[in-house]
């Protein structure tokens, strides 16, 4: 309980054995077979294509577009989800009122909204942002609602006994108590935001990393395609690492027990 277990921060080289071996094997195989392909590329080609794309700015521009859209959508989705989750967690009436609507809308796959969003907004930032917002609002809403609903009832009694009003109760008791679980939802939402943004770009929106990857594929440049794929993976990894770091910073030794995922 009291120990603030340190994150697994020590570098362990053993984790890198498999990926490095795979890359070497791929390179050897490509060289040995004199690989000439429209769908595969040797690791060396991928590396070269990646460096070129980084240097001439295509990847950076695409990254900027994707991140702006993913993060804006995330911000809107998180805000809406958090607000509704708090409301539904706190008010039984609101929960009853919304229960059916939520269960009806939630199963809609967010990418199924692409045609609708395209009709409303056309191509561009707003269309993608709206879909990311829709996709990220759900985990925030559901986690927040259940986190608020499962707060230790004694704490709620304590705040009532002390005579706190609703706002003070939310701010001093309910949010801090629910925060570790809400943050878990936020981490999920961050991952979802990137996935949905890239998916929308691959499927429809002519911006960002997903679109750049599709263009590389359609112009038969597998090296560039794989380079961008790896780049997207790195961004995802970086965002997740950032979240884990933030989680440790925020919840440190006091409440780390509740946020393992």
């Amino acid at each position: 309980m009291s120990s603030g277990a340190a994150p697994r921060s020590r570098f362990d080289w053993r984790g890198f054995v498999v990926p490095v071996l795979l890359v070497i094997t791929a390179q050897v195989a490509a060289v040995v077979t004199h690989l000439q392909s429209d769908s595969l590329a040797a690791p060396s080609e991928i590396l070269v294509a990646g460096i070129e794309a980084l240097m001439d700015g295509t990847v950076l521009r695409a990254t900027r577009d994707t991140l702006i859209m993913a993060l804006s959508g995330l911000a809107i989705g998180v805000a809406v989800g958090l607000f509704l989750g708090l409301l539904l967690g706190l008010s039984r009436i609101a929960d009853r009122l919304m229960e059916f609507s939520i269960e009806a809308f939630r199963p809609i796959p967010s990418v199924a909204l692409i045609p609708v969003a395209m009709l409303v907004y056309g191509f561009g930032y707003r269309m993608e942002i709206s879909i990311v917002a829709f996709a990220t609002a759900w985990p925030m809403l559901l986690f927040t609602r259940s986190a608020v609903g499962s707060i230790e009832p004694r704490l709620v009694e304590v705040s009532r006994a002390l005579g706190f009003g609703v706002l003070a109760r939310v701010w001093k008791i309910i949010l801090p108590a629910a925060l570790p679980r809400i943050f878990v939802a936020f981490r999920l939402a961050v991952g979802i935001a990137l996935i949905v943004a890239v998916t929308v770009e691959i499927a429809a929106n002519p911006y960002g990393l997903g679109y750049t990857m599709m263009v590389a594929q359609q112009s038969l440049r597998p090296g560039l395609m794989f380079a961008i794929l790896i780049w997207i993976g790195l961004i995802g990894w970086f965002l997740n690492a950032l979240m884990i770091w933030a989680q440790h910073r925020l919840f440190g030794p006091a409440a780390m027990t509740a946020v393992q995922l």
């Binding site: 309980m1 009291s2 230790e152 004694r154 704490l155 009694e157 304590v158 009532r160 006994a161 002390l162 005579g163 706190f164 003070a168 001093k172 008791i173 801090p176 108590a177 030794p253 006091a254 409440a255």
Partner: protein, 272 residues
């Protein structure tokens, strides 16, 4: 049943009435929890409530605290019906581990009670230091509840309640989960705090000796639904002493009477 009703008639000391139950009934979820409770608690009185589990002891506290509402009758505080929680009535919960905010330090937990009042921010620090000192947690001000022992956590909860400067302190089996030595120390601490401040205490316990040791009066509830079925005046000198008080004949007599009462209630339950 007859025997229970015959138990000692209270020789009421004359006190100003602070809390009163008038013919109180309480139903929760379709179950009758309390029935026809009539009770007056005097200003500065230390009242203990005992009884088997499920007899509505805790519900009585929650009614006084304004956390529950009566189904029939009324609960009066200073002559006015209790409708909602108020600053000058503090409640100490049994499960201190759940009642403290795990993300706040000891000092922060006490601060919570001060934040609920209009007390100016500048005075908080001083009040917190004062209260920590009063309950002997000065050296642990920056620790989180999870880093404190059970006894310290309960002390901390008491300090938070004292921060409200309560006229009434409600205590719900506060020492039930503590070891015997810690319990004795905390019992004496409560007594000395109360003796200095004239606070009225309503103390729920299932420990009969604790009830006699602490109380000016002990009332016994019987369950299904909860009713008051016995009352005992405790004529023991104060300050009380952990060693000599329980040796006094009056203590032993009350202990016997209370044990008989509980036994009576329990056999009655079994037969019914």
């Amino acid at each position: 049943m007859n025997k229970v009703e015959q138990t000692s008639k209270p020789r009421r000391a004359v006190r100003e009435e602070l809390i009163a139950f008038r013919n109180v009934n309480l139903d929760l979820g379709g179950r009758k929890i309390l029935q026809d409770i009539d009770l007056a608690v005097g200003k500065g009185e230390f009242l203990c409530i005992v009884g088997p589990s499920g007899c509505g002891k805790t519900s009585m506290l929650r009614l006084i605290a304004g956390l529950f509402h009566v189904s029939k009758g009324e609960v009066l505080y200073r002559g006015k019906p209790v409708t909602k929680p108020r600053q000058d009535i503090a409640i100490v919960f049994q499960d201190y581990g759940k009642a403290l905010l795990p993300w706040r330090t000891a000092a922060g937990n006490i601060s919570l009670a001060l934040e609920a009042t209009d007390a100016p921010k500048a005075q908080r620090e001083m009040r917190i230091a004062e209260l920590l000192d009063k309950i002997g947690l000065t050296d642990h001000a920056d620790k989180f509840p999870g880093q404190l022992s059970g006894g310290m956590q309960q002390r901390l909860q008491m300090a938070r309640c004292l921060a409200q400067e309560p006229a009434v302190l409600l205590m719900d089996e506060p020492f039930g989960a503590l070891d015997a030595l810690t319990r004795q120390a905390l019992q004496d601490e409560v007594l000395s705090i109360v003796a200095g401040s004239g606070t009225t205490v309503v103390f729920v316990t299932h420990d009969l000796e604790e009830a006699i040791y602490l109380g000016d009066r002990v009332i016994g509830l019987c369950p299904n639904p909860g009713r008051i079925s016995a009352a005992f005046e405790v004529d023991l000198a104060r300050p009380r002493d952990q060693l000599t008080t329980p040796e006094q004949p009056e203590f032993l007599r009350l202990r016997r009477e209370l044990f008989d009462f509980i036994k009576e209630v329990e056999t009655h339950e079994v037969l019914a």
